[in-house]
């Protein structure tokens, strides 16, 4: 399955979920598929999109939260699976775009490529609803069940590495604009206060 096709299937099933994207390929592909503004696209802190999403999910248990992570990012913070398991956020879905390479730096192979079983690692960490999916039809069929019931859910989306080195444009917002767009979107949608009366 191509990453872009996986994103299209995810977008089809998104519903009202708020999304947090790891930097790089995952964020660029999600932006290309959705142009979604109520998504937080990490510009840095590689590895920590899952922790950011966990914080949002813990703060707003009524809000469906997705994290679209990437294998290179997850490997920089595998401990997030332990934290996620202990917190057991019912509203969190963790999707891993697993292409086995560091895509944005030229599809450089990842460490231990082809031998790492991320879904097994998630289960071993204590997230029992963890699956691996490698084709779009199976993803399309599996998502209704993965989105039903309580999270956390971990889905390793095994996609093909893109060796064409095509440049997928990132979303066009700077870091602070991303903050205010995302925060204002959540204020409007949830009726919460993210920023104070003076705007900070």
């Amino acid at each position: 399955m191509r990453a872009a096709d996986a994103m299209a299937v995810l977008a089809k099933h998104r519903g009202d979920a708020v999304v947090v994207c790891a930097l790089g390929m995952a964020a660029n592909e999600w932006w290309a598929a959705t142009q979604s503004e109520d998504t937080f696209y990490m510009h840095g802190a590689m590895g920590f999109a899952a922790s950011f999403a966990l914080g949002l999910a813990a703060a707003r248990p009524e809000l469906p939260v997705w994290v679209i992570n990437a294998d290179g990012s997850l490997c920089m913070n595998l401990g997030c699976l332990l934290t996620e398991a202990q917190q057991a956020p019912r509203n969190l879905r963790h999707f891993l775009v697993d292409n086995g390479v560091y895509q944005t730096v030229g599809a450089v192979p990842m460490v231990n490529r082809g031998r790492t079983d991320f879904a097994a690692m998630a289960r071993a960490a204590g997230i029992p609803r963890a699956v691996a999916i490698s084709d779009t039809a199976a993803l399309d069929a599996a998502l209704p069940e993965l989105l039903a019931g309580d999270g956390p859910v971990f889905a390793d989306l095994q996609v093909e590495p893109d060796t064409s080195h095509r440049a997928i444009p990132p979303m066009p917002y700077e870091g602070p604009e991303m903050k205010y767009r995302f925060g204002r979107a959540l204020e409007k949608r949830l009726g919460i206060t993210v920023f104070g009366p003076q705007g900070y």
């Binding site: 510009h43 840095g44 922790s51 707003r60 809000l63 401990g79 602070p176 959540l186 993210v194 900070y200």
Partner: protein, 167 residues
Amino acid sequence: MDVHDMIHDRLRETGVTLAATLPDDWVAPLIGRIDRDPEMRHVPVAREAEAIAVCSGAFFGGVRSVAVMGATGLLTCMGELATLNLRHQIPVFIVASRRGSIDDHRVYQEVQGRRTFAVLDAYDFPYHVVERTEDLGCIPDAYEACRLQKRPFVLFLARKLVKGAAA
């Protein structure tokens, strides 16, 4: 009521309802108070930078949060503090031990004592050291300064505050 209860109380008065934590021995008692507070969501983490990201995500949920850690752990977070919090201007309030001070006679803390403030100054991350219980009333102001400056703010707990006078 001891100093750890007092810090916990000041955090509650500030409106903090979520804490992401990883202990060293100086902040462990505070983390214990947080863990026993049913009105404060406690997120123990496996690495300090996770606490930074958890608190950053909670910010967008409209929840006031604190990251609690030791000074050594704080130094491990600099990349994330720069590329997440500085990059996106996301405030994150950190309570950390002030390790390596002249009354902290632990050889494995001496570098933290000499270099932590210099590192924070280089990033232009504000900080404040609390040395006496009488000064704990600064916590709401420190929290507001963190929000206002839209960046990490570190509130350091001095040794004599949390461990008493003897080194």
